[in-house]
Structures are given as structure tokens and as C-alpha cells.
Symmetry: C2
């Protein structure tokens, strides 16, 4: 079940089914505010550009603000920009605190990679420890989450140097990624032209895979799907989802939707599979850029691309507790 | 009751006593994890200084990491440092969303001012909207909180350019402050010598004042204290506490404990009261630095310094609802 050899759920001395029940009490149930509410809230934060646009060698320095996931702020020091992103999640992976920390860390960094920034100067960690956790649970589970958050940050070439830890009903995991760089080190997401194609670099459906995996332990849910899926199907999909969520987006660049000219896109999809980029990642051309008013639409009959699993089936733990 | 002329609780069309009840359901009840738990959690985050100490013009650049409230990270770009802090709170001021946002903003920036940094290049906002809030409550209250968070940031000469908004059982307010500066623009908190005195720049007891103010609406609590305090005493203390929490720590430097040579300390306490620094702030010499092992202790019989209120009693709203 576990993708990290040294991790064993028993080593933190918590009975798995007990932890599953407890975790359900502590995890957030819906973390995103709806788009219209968010728009209303952000309205009061719209930036006054009271700081004049900064120039360097006669050129206006690019700026991205609250409308985007990552902000790019020209600094007082000639020619440098501050690039920052923050994100936090309520964990959705109930079994493995180690993977949970890794996913949270990758999630913070992913918005960075989306603007082409691969060098992170600093990370802060934001942690909410559930007030429903017993001391014993906290002592065993939270250090594992922290350790992996830190491991993933170090894998990305940065370190966690600060943060904030509070008590909260739900477990909260997140952080802040910051770098200082030159305009040549980031890509403003405004250069696409009609005819470019859209390339997706991680498969969709991870949240469905995680939800269905939870159903293994809920008889009335499991009974609804057990004629269609085997337990092994679900374990495999879950492992695949965990791997994808925990994979850093730096190599070219995980969960991204990239616009590229067709020729380059084909080359990119071929290159990303090469051993040079690690473990044989994949990317897929899934759409095309048309002239229009900056909206997106799904075509009437979209095709479904089956994604070959990267987890070998024999790694799936057959003892995981399905209830039939 | 309100320190901002344009703000009137009626303007957000919520009945005050109704809001008080609702707020109590949404506010965090205890946000700090205990010191020993925090130490355990941070142990797994201790920084590997895998990045070598950076040098500039032959001198090692100073670094502060996870042990402190603010981190100072030497950057790749010669001679500059990244200074960052993050903090979030569960609001404790139940009546005035405007003050709540201001306090959250000042709270983020205060750790910055504690290392002498007065210029903030960027702020991110971290916001948890209570999932117990109705749409109507959210529409009225959250924009006020945001607006004031932003106003206080702009007053500090910076702007809010990004952040993260999620649903959470408790309301969460906080942010991240970041600046890029030279070593001459910050003070490392390691230069005190025996004989220096400790100067405090905001009075203690704000949380007690806020808690006692909430007791005005809880008959069994109010009955316990009404022979000792008048309603006016409590309203005044509450207003004073709100003003102090919402005051930016830049002029000067709000809620700081500063070590200074005695002569300079006396001069500092005199100067901070002058009109040059705004509204007649105060500071008090409250202790002395002795040779020792970096621990702090309260003397056996500490004196109590009474703090003259800055809020004129006639500004206190006499209609606030005490239950006798």
C-alpha cells in the first residue's frame, strides 16, 4: 500500500480502522469557497496600483496580482521580481501521513512551476493540528506529515524555515513558496495564440480515485460499485492517484495545462517520457486554442484517454480492509 | 463602540445580539498549540543547512530560521536577504469586522517590525470563511474584514497581492509578509548585553479585556464581576485593547519587547510620546538584562504600571448590551 519502503502504518502504533474513523472526524469536508463567493470577497482586495509600475532598463516590469494563483511583484532592487504563492488543503489521503505531507508540499510548489519558476528560495509551512486529536495521535501522525512536507521541499531544492502552527477542528496543511528572480526566470501566462494546443501533464480523476477508495470501508457504498470494480482496481487507482499528487511538478511540470505550438507539443510529450526526466512521466495533447474571448469549453463528445498505471500491481497491499 | 467613524454595526444589517451568538459558534476557542507539542512538531522540521552559508564581500550573511517568528534567508543575489513571516489568528473581537481585519493585518506585520524591518514588499492573505456562516452573513461580514486587512496593509506601505481562501469550521484570518532587503535593513535579535533594560511598547492584558467584555452578555459571568467593574470600565478597557491590537507596530514599534542601554531606553520612552510619532504612543521600562543562560524570569513582587487610556470615555457606546 505504501510507496515509501520505510513507512509502515503499524510503526505509528495506530490501528488502521480506528485511525480511519478518527481521521474522518478531523478532515475537512469541503475546502473551496464557490467562485461567485470568492469573486465577492476578492473585490474588496483589488489592488490599488499605488506603487507605480516599476521599470528596469526602460522596460516596465511584469506584474501578476490577486487574480492569479501566483503573484509576481517587481522589487525595489533593479530588475528583480518577488514571486510568491500560498496554498493549503485539508488532507484527503487517510492512510498515510507521509504521503499527505508530500502532497501538501507538492501542492504549494505546483503554482510556482505553472509560471515556469523552478528555483524556490524559501518555504513556510502552515499547519492546523486537529483539536480532536489525542496527544498520542498527534505525536505519531503530525511528525510524519511534517517530515514529508520537509522532504518534498528539500527534493525541490528548498527548505522550510518558518511557519505557523495552530489548533483547528480540521487538519490543515499548506505553505508559502517564495523566490526572488529575474524576468527571464518566469513565464507570464499570457502568450498563447490561436492554433496552439493544450498539453496536460497529469491525469484527471485523482479525487474520484481517493473517494472510491474510502468507499471500500463503507459497506453501503462498496455494495454499489463492487460489481463494476474489483478491490485491486481501486487500490491500484488509489496508489496511482497518490503518486501523481505527491510527484513534484518541477520535472518540465506535473499538473499543468500548457499552451504550445503543435510541433513543440508533440516533441514535449515525447521528451517527458524519456529517462532524462525521471520515471517515465507522461503528457497528453487534449485541446486547441481558438480565437475568442478568453473562455474555455469542453467539446460535445470528448474522448477519454486511458492512462497506463505506473504502479506495479504487485505493490498493492492485498490486506487493505475491504468490506464486502 | 466603534473607532472608525464610517463603520456602524447597523450598516451590515445584522442584529448585534444575533451576531454575537452566531460569532461564538464560529470563532476558534484555543489557537495555540502548547510549547512542548510545538517543540515536538518542529523537531522534524529542523533545517538541514544543506545550502551553504552565503557570503557577500567576504562576510557570512546572517540567517534566522524556524526557531524564530521571522525568518531571514540569504538570497542567491549578492548581499540581499529574504525576510518573511506568517501568522494567523482566530478573531477574538466579536463586534466589529473592520477592527478584526485590522488586527489580523497588524498581527502579521508585527513580527517584521520586531526585527526592525519597516518596509514590506508584499502581503498574502490567508482566509478561512466559517462553513457555519449563512450567505447573508458572509456577504456582509467578510468583505469588511478583507477591506480592513487591505487598508492596514496599505497604511503600512504595502499591498495584498494574493492568498488563499477556504471554508473552515472556525473563522481564520492571517497572512504572509515578505520583503527583500540588505543586512543593514534588519536587526538580528542577538545583540543584548547585561545591563541593558527591557522596554515594552504596548500594555499587556488585551486578551483579558476582550474576554471580560464578552462576559457583559453572559449573566452568570457578569454577576461575578459587576461589583468590581462598571460596564463603562469594561467598555473603555475593551476599546483600549482593540486600539492597541489594531495599531500598526511600525511607528515605532507596538507590541515589542526591546533591549536597549538605559540611557537610550529613557530617551526612546520620551520620544515615542512626541507628536512626531503620531497619537502619543507610550513605552515602559519593565526589566533588566542579567548575565545568564538565556532564560527569562518574573521577579518575586512585580509592580503594576497603570496605563492611562487613550480612548476618550465619551466615545464609548452606552447602548452596548450589558445584562445585569
Amino acid at each position: 500500500m505504501c510507496t515509501r519502503e520505510s513507512f509502515n502504518p503499524e510503526s505509528y502504533e495506530l490501528d488502521r480502522s480506528f485511525w480511519l474513523t478518527r481521521f474522518t472526524e478531523m478532515k475537512g469536508t469541503g475546502w473551496k469557497v464557490s467562485q461567485d463567493v470568492l469573486q465577492k470577497l476578492l473585490k474588496s482586495l483589488q489592488v490599488n496600483h499605488f506603487q507605480e509600475d516599476k521599470q528596469f532598463l526602460g522596460a516596465v516590469m511584469p506584474r501578476l496580482d490577486i487574480r492569479m494563483d501566483t503573484c509576481v511583484i517587481p522589487l525595489r532592487h533593479g530588475g528583480r521580481s518577488l514571486v510568491q504563492t500560498t496554498d493549503y488543503i485539508y488532507p484527503i489521503v487517510e492512510e498515510d501521513p507521509y504521503m499527505t505531507g508530500r502532497i501538501a508540499s507538492a501542492n504549494v510548489l505546483s503554482d510556482f512551476y505553472a509560471v515556469g519558476v523552478t528555483k524556490c528560495d524559501n518555504m513556510l509551512m502552515l499547519l492546523g493540528v486537529s483539536n480532536k486529536m489525542t496527544d498520542r495521535e498527534g505525536d505519531k501522525v503530525m511528525p510524519l506529515i511534517n517530515q514529508d512536507f520537509k522532504d518534498a521541499a528539500e527534493e525541490a531544492g528548498t527548505s522550510v524555515t518558518g511557519g505557523q502552527t495552530v489548533l483547528n477542528p480540521w487538519i490543515v496543511l499548506g505553505g508559502v513558496a517564495t523566490t526572488v528572480c529575474q524576468p527571464s526566470e518566469f513565464i507570464m501566462p499570457d502568450n498563447t495564440v490561436p492554433g496552439d494546443v493544450l498539453v496536460l501533464t497529469k491525469p484527471l480523476g485523482t479525487q474520484v480515485a481517493v473517494a472510491v477508495h474510502q468507499w471500500l470501508d463503507i459497506p453501503e457504498k462498496w455494495n454499489k460499485i463492487k460489481l463494476v470494480f474489483t478491490q485491486e482496481d481501486i487500490e491500484l487507482a488509489y496508489q496511482e492517484a497518490m503518486m501523481n499528487m505527491g510527484r513534484l511538478n518541477r520535472t518540465t511540470s506535473g499538473s499543468l495545462l500548457i499552451c504550445l505550438p503543435l510541433q513543440q507539443a508533440a516533441q514535449f510529450c515525447a521528451e517527458i517520457k524519456s529517462p532524462k526526466y525521471g520515471e517515465g512521466h507522461q503528457a497528453w495533447i487534449i485541446g486547441i486554442v481558438e480565437k475568442g474571448n478568453c473562455t474555455a469549453r469542453i467539446i460535445d463528445k470528448p474522448g477519454i484517454i486511458e492512462v497506463a498505471p505506473q504502479v506495479a500491481p504487485q505493490n498493492v497491499n492485498p490486506t487493505s480492509g475491504a468490506t464486502s
